[in-house]
Symmetry: D2
Subunit: 286 residues, 4 copies
Amino acid sequence: MCRWLAYYGDPIPIASLVLRRQHSLIDQSLNSTLGATTTNGDGFGIGWYDEHGGDPGVYRSVHPAWNDRNLRELAEHIRSPLFFAHIRASTGTAVQETNTHPFRHGRWLFMHNGLIREFGRVRRDLLLAVDPELLPEIEGSTDSELLFYLALTFGLEQDPVKALERMAGFVEDVAEEHGIDNPLQTSVAVTDGERIIAVRYSSEGNSRSLYFSTHARVLKEQYPDIEELQTLSDEARAVVSEPLGDLVGAWNEVPESSIGIVQPGQDELQPFTPRRGAAVVASVAR
Amino acid sequence: MCRWLAYYGDPIPIASLVLRRQHSLIDQSLNSTLGATTTNGDGFGIGWYDEHGGDPGVYRSVHPAWNDRNLRELAEHIRSPLFFAHIRASTGTAVQETNTHPFRHGRWLFMHNGLIREFGRVRRDLLLAVDPELLPEIEGSTDSELLFYLALTFGLEQDPVKALERMAGFVEDVAEEHGIDNPLQTSVAVTDGERIIAVRYSSEGNSRSLYFSTHARVLKEQYPDIEELQTLSDEARAVVSEPLGDLVGAWNEVPESSIGIVQPGQDELQPFTPRRGAAVVASVAR
Amino acid sequence: MCRWLAYYGDPIPIASLVLRRQHSLIDQSLNSTLGATTTNGDGFGIGWYDEHGGDPGVYRSVHPAWNDRNLRELAEHIRSPLFFAHIRASTGTAVQETNTHPFRHGRWLFMHNGLIREFGRVRRDLLLAVDPELLPEIEGSTDSELLFYLALTFGLEQDPVKALERMAGFVEDVAEEHGIDNPLQTSVAVTDGERIIAVRYSSEGNSRSLYFSTHARVLKEQYPDIEELQTLSDEARAVVSEPLGDLVGAWNEVPESSIGIVQPGQDELQPFTPRRGAAVVASVAR
Amino acid sequence: MCRWLAYYGDPIPIASLVLRRQHSLIDQSLNSTLGATTTNGDGFGIGWYDEHGGDPGVYRSVHPAWNDRNLRELAEHIRSPLFFAHIRASTGTAVQETNTHPFRHGRWLFMHNGLIREFGRVRRDLLLAVDPELLPEIEGSTDSELLFYLALTFGLEQDPVKALERMAGFVEDVAEEHGIDNPLQTSVAVTDGERIIAVRYSSEGNSRSLYFSTHARVLKEQYPDIEELQTLSDEARAVVSEPLGDLVGAWNEVPESSIGIVQPGQDELQPFTPRRGAAVVASVAR
């Protein structure tokens, strides 16, 4: 439904990944090859951390990424050590900035590809489960934004892996009550500016694509002639819903039902298991 | 916060009231004289019934009314026997089409000037009171749209006066629980395409301005030399938050805490009394 | 580069052709099958004549047609006996309303699919040839708008066939001076509200597709079971850059280098021959 | 008609002047006190140089500055040692990004407040005088953009003061031929990233307001208690069409018919004298 990428490493212009590559994200906005839809023209957004710290900035627009001149300007001029970029293909909800990813809460960014099936039927129950303190921040009408606020409610800022598993389990709990099968289809990225956490999961075990880039260090050795690679630090990595080119060995598919963490030092990859019954825990916690 | 007008009568181009008059609604978007703000530039909308029946059409835009060329085109080319027009001055919620008036549900249109005080604190309780069948239709984040869905929940389609009084009473009930004084400040118009119902009410008894036009029949006798007036049928009337000119005798201020109904035959004007305790009734009804 | 349709016949809602059909124009905005590009998401426009006469209305937007809610509203509510609809795929010029078709001058509408090759090199000479009285009306930066104003300069309002042939010949004259081969690739529609004139022409004799619908009378006899067809009057016809469905016998390809006129009574179809040397005539005429 | 500001000094967030001050530029978009119009809501733009050099970035939008969230994000996150910001009040030309300031050519930025009187009558002659190599870059329909390309044609990149005087003189020459009195009303800022050149001039000698800030060094001595001032370097300066607050001694009105240059070391201020007959020189030069 959407396409996204997340970058972590030395500060680089956002344009490096969003504009200037073979099958860049802008190219994917017109010609996605792995997405559920070819065209992702219902708005886009970028979120980034400045080199000198602070809360992230967010730029979101309802224009298609391929024809938005401001995106080109900003992507060339904003350098960042950690950024998200997202192109949207609406599954029916309004095309408006508040429905565009990434979503932000304090230092956190969240973006999403996928959907909650029969969202209209479960929306009310999901809204009710959101921490009342957080609810006023919800400005749009998407399932994606609501997933973010559920994850925050379930403790994203304290224990992100657990909170995301509770988020998924809770949606499956509520859907079950309504007799909805396979409710969740999702590839998610969240960040606090220090690490990127990415989930590939669907209730039916047939999830949207998700890839991690090979460590830049490996690629530099493997392709000593590609100048662009040599300028990257060893730590630089990207997580993407669709590879940004066809360099052999550059992209590794994330296994089904996995959660990965890109961070300083050793990355992590582990199974992702929705925690059912989270709703009760959440209610008690409040 | 906003300005609006509602027209009922012979089919006329929407431009007659929105564009082509001294102190038209477009003029008020730049230079409101009675509004809480001078500038109403955070989007606008029109809703209209076709001459040949059917559900109303709605055109909404985030551009200021004064510089939107499409509004000028549509207002000149759309003729309607009953239309609403609204210019918005946001009190903080996002400038997006789904936050722009009029709102629509089936044959009904709703528009609003005013606010719920400390809306963030009561939003959750108000959302919970909305009929779960209706909740998925809420697409924006304004207090205004939520008022509409509360009124629908409380029976707007069956007994509009009672439903609007319950809507107001319920907001006051909830606000009281949260310790918020004088929560409601409002001038509202609703229609089903047959009649226009307009409310002037505020909890503190000091409401936004609201005017009914004098019957065209009276004005035609009074001003036999104004050609424009002579083309109107005797039934034509407008309800406005601010007069569209300074013709003496043309506009009558609606008294505080009143509800008026413009309809075929005799209009009605009666006191508007919020019905407290409506929440319980609504819960029981479901 | 773009897709368009023109309708002439009994008043129908614009939605009949733009929204409600298999492979409607909105469908073509995402999935054009015959166009130079699959996606036509760089804005759209409609132009229409009211049932009761007067100059045409124009609604233009920079949003993709497939996600613009206002287009859906207007298309359902505006009935017209003659309308144009256009979806744009920019070849590089800015995505802005003034670059969006149809263009209007008085009672005339103009829309276009195609391009002038190496437009930047000839733009100045073409601008200089435009009647100085008309020049201030040019608001955008497209080759299409400039073609319209050249046609007007060469007498579109007096003798449209001749003016369009001069327009094409003049562009070829200027391009030849600049050493540009095969400068013109075009399918054009113009109307004064009485008839639709459509041109299929390219300098290299390999033009963008163009189709006329078979007379409704013939289709009604051929498909007595298709209810929708039976409601059309015998005179109803459409001209399209790409068929709106796959009904056998419904669409007739316009031959290369042809100009067709859809009008009351007998339609016309004749060869289209650019008139070279038009520039001189134009200069002399002023 | 518009309001603008230009900043030169240590890198600061654009928000410092555009958002975070008493009577900031965003405040002026709703409540200009010295402008020809109170409301400047027809789009805005920012242009900035990065700390690490290169061509300037430009962000332009058709939304009112006061309600554009992206502007707030970007202004907080973009730090720059030299930036322009502009809010527009259209005098009739279309509200579109290509009509929004600042305009850019290579390393140069240009912005403008004012107008060419009876622009429609002289537009063609002015367009013809633009260097044919530059003409294809003109994308909008404003007098302002055309003034920029005239200045470039007359040698802005080589000798900016002379080129601006020729620009003004040429407009007055052409207007005189058309019998138009007092054609030019203007306050202009241009920059190449090294210095800011600002002109206050009108043919009738009654120009739009223009102010230079007092050297930060002076203000720091004068107001030792204002913390915000103490963080500025001695070199920091702003040029504005309307003061950003009411600090006594902070703003110095630029005299009528003057041109000022803010640059490293000593600033300059000298009389501005349109050079008549420039058209001839320009033609010969090509």
